[in-house]
């Protein structure tokens, strides 16, 4: 068998392969992030961490439908102080962890960074795009000016690379991205879940306790591909693709659209083996199509 390195460099991050665990999927604890990495992910993004501990919404917080997964977990997280301690405990192990953070505005984002920044991790992903938590979600991600001030606040407090995670629930995504990039974001992550709801017909109730949630999984991939394609046309900074990837074809499709690396979330439904399966598929494809590096594939869908 021909060997291929899957190594990628994304805004200074060196990853063994282009796959990352997406934020909020199993990665509430450093143990879970580690398991994803040991299962073959090039990196792992933590659950979004806020200033204070949050229990999130009452169950049901997730519902699997024939249209994909709809969730309103409600940004449950142990808070920046506790998570900082968890990170401190794995110091020296050089785990390729990206920490996702959220907050109610620039000041709160800044304080979260101050509490976490001393630890060993690769980068920040700013969750500007949770579609179902009032005050910390889309209010920030749909408004270019607020997004800019959040990115500036984070930028001034860390030397680590900063990725802004975008929402496709707005037609202004490219404007928000521009604000983030102009304010110092090193890269963009697209996309978060799509605002959604399901109603259960026997009980006639919205299924989720929070009623509104976010749609993820296969259903949203064509939306993600379109948004990544638009971002690649508009910006030079690297893009982390996210949304509905569960096979190597999906991952390659996202690279071709312009993503430099690819997050996998809902597909964890099929177990941690998804990372090595996808990597194997990408390797086979590269051999067959004679690509030497993953980077060569990035954005190739724009050639035509």
């Amino acid at each position: 068998m021909v060997e291929r390195s899957l190594r990628v460099k994304v805004a200074g991050l060196r990853l063994e392969n282009p796959l990352l665990l997406a934020s909020g999927i199993v990665g509430v604890t450093v143990d879970s992030l580690t398991r994803a990495i040991e299962s073959g992910a090039g990196g792992a993004v933590s659950k979004s961490i806020g200033l204070e501990p949050r229990e999130g919404y009452r169950n049901p917080t997730l519902v699997a439908t024939d249209s994909g997964l709809v969730n309103a977990v409600g940004l449950s997280n142990p808070g920046a102080r506790v998570f900082s301690e968890e990170l401190a405990a794995v110091k020296g192990r050089r785990l390729p962890i990206v920490v996702s953070i959220f907050g109610g505005g620039p000041a709160e984002f800044g304080r979260v960074v101050e509490m976490l920044d001393g630890n060993e991790f690769l980068a920040y992903e700013l969750n500007l795009s949770c579609p179902h938590v009032e005050g910390v979600g889309t209010e920030i991600g749909h408004d270019p000016e607020v997004a800019a001030s959040v990115v500036r606040s984070v930028r001034s407090r860390t030397k680590k690379p900063v990725f802004a995670k975008l929402s496709a629930n707005t037609h202004r995504m490219v404007d928000v991205a521009k604000a983030a990039v102009d304010s110092g974001a090193d890269g963009l992550t697209a996309i978060n879940t799509m605002r959604a709801m399901t109603i259960e017909v026997e009980t006639r109730r919205p299924t989720l306790s929070h009623k509104f949630g976010g749609l993820s999984g296969t259903s949203i991939r064509p939306i993600a591909i379109a948004r990544i394609y638009e971002l690649y046309q508009a910006f030079k900074v690297p893009i982390i693709g996210c949304g509905g990837v569960s096979t190597w074809e999906h991952a390659v499709e996202m690279l071709l659209a312009g993503a430099s690396s690819v997050e996998v979330g809902t597909a964890l439904y099929n177990g941690y083996g998804v990372f090595s399966d996808i990597n194997q598929g990408i390797t086979n494809y590269m051999v067959r199509k004679r690509f030497k590096k993953v980077q060569e594939m990035v954005g190739l869908g724009h050639k035509f």
Binding site: V26, V28, T61, L62, S76, G79, E200, Y269, G271
Partner: protein, 258 residues
């Protein structure tokens, strides 16, 4: 919801029909949705080929409280069965359970007997009126293989079920301990099995949001309890001894005492 049977002072068994549960195996759980209240994991205490199934529940929050009060005909949501079941094979089995932890042990006992195992059961409870499924277990195992303990000595042997378990491990040809109940009890049973060098499987409990390996709220070390468990064996637990029986994560992901 088809039937609600009061088992003890505070524990009820709620029967329902769900065709998917006809494929359940002992130790698997379902996510029970009590509309308007909550959704929570519950071990299956009965299931048959037609999907007539049950969970056995002790009220501890708004959801389980509502479930215990549920009436015939009411609609509840069931997802599952989920999770890794207990190992069912011919062996020298000792089942140690307390409280509603006996729920998954009942179908397990039936399956083990069917598989030709030698099955001994210890039922624990605080007091006589807390002992669950005594009648049901009597139908499955011989009188000499069924033991009862109560903390207050009001029925069976006084003391903890694990005290008796320790004796039984010494006296009988026990090759695997199966346990479910309060985590402190299960940890004790783990230590007993570990010392005796025999196999061990326990069905643990953690806060669960999704039940399908997505949300990460149910971790025990690197294991996701909903996928890799709820039944974990000694090997899986050995890596989490600083946690097992001592700490668990709350809904925010912080450690709290079990």
């Amino acid at each position: 919801m088809v039937k609600n049977v009061r088992e003890t002072r505070d524990i009820s068994t709620v029967f329902f029909v769900d065709p998917e549960c006809s494929t359940a195996r002992p130790g698997q759980f379902v996510m029970v949705w009590e509309p308007g209240f909550d959704e929570f994991p519950m071990s299956l205490s009965n299931y048959d080929a037609k999907g007539v199934s049950s969970v056995t529940v002790k009220p501890w929050g708004p959801g389980s409280g509502a479930l215990v009060g549920a009436r015939r005909g009411e609609v509840i949501g069931i997802r599952g069965p989920y999770g890794r079941p207990f190992t069912v094979e011919k062996c020298g089995a000792l089942l140690v359970g307390g409280g509603t932890g006996l729920a998954p042990l009942l179908p397990l006992a039936k399956a083990l007997v069917k598989a030709g195992a030698h099955v001994t059961v210890v039922l624990g409870g605080r007091s006589k009126s807390d002992i669950l499924f005594e009648k049901q277990f009597r139908r499955v195992v011989k009188r000499k293989n069924l033991f009862i303990t109560t903390d207050d000595g009001s029925h069976g042997r006084p003391g903890y079920p694990t005290d008796l378990a320790e004796e039984l491990v010494r006296e009988r040809n026990v090759t695997r301990v199966y346990t479910c109940g309060p985590e402190v009890m299960m940890r004790k049973a783990y230590d007993i099995s570990d010392r005796a060098g025999i196999e061990y499987e326990a069905s643990l409990e953690r806060s669960m949001k999704c039940g399908i390996g997505i949300c990460g709220s149910c971790t025990v070390g690197r294991n996701l309890l909903c996928r890799d468990g709820a039944v974990l064996d000694a090997k899986a637990l050995k890596a989490s001894l600083e946690e097992f029986g001592l700490l668990q994560r709350d809904a925010s992901g912080r450690y709290i005492k079990v």
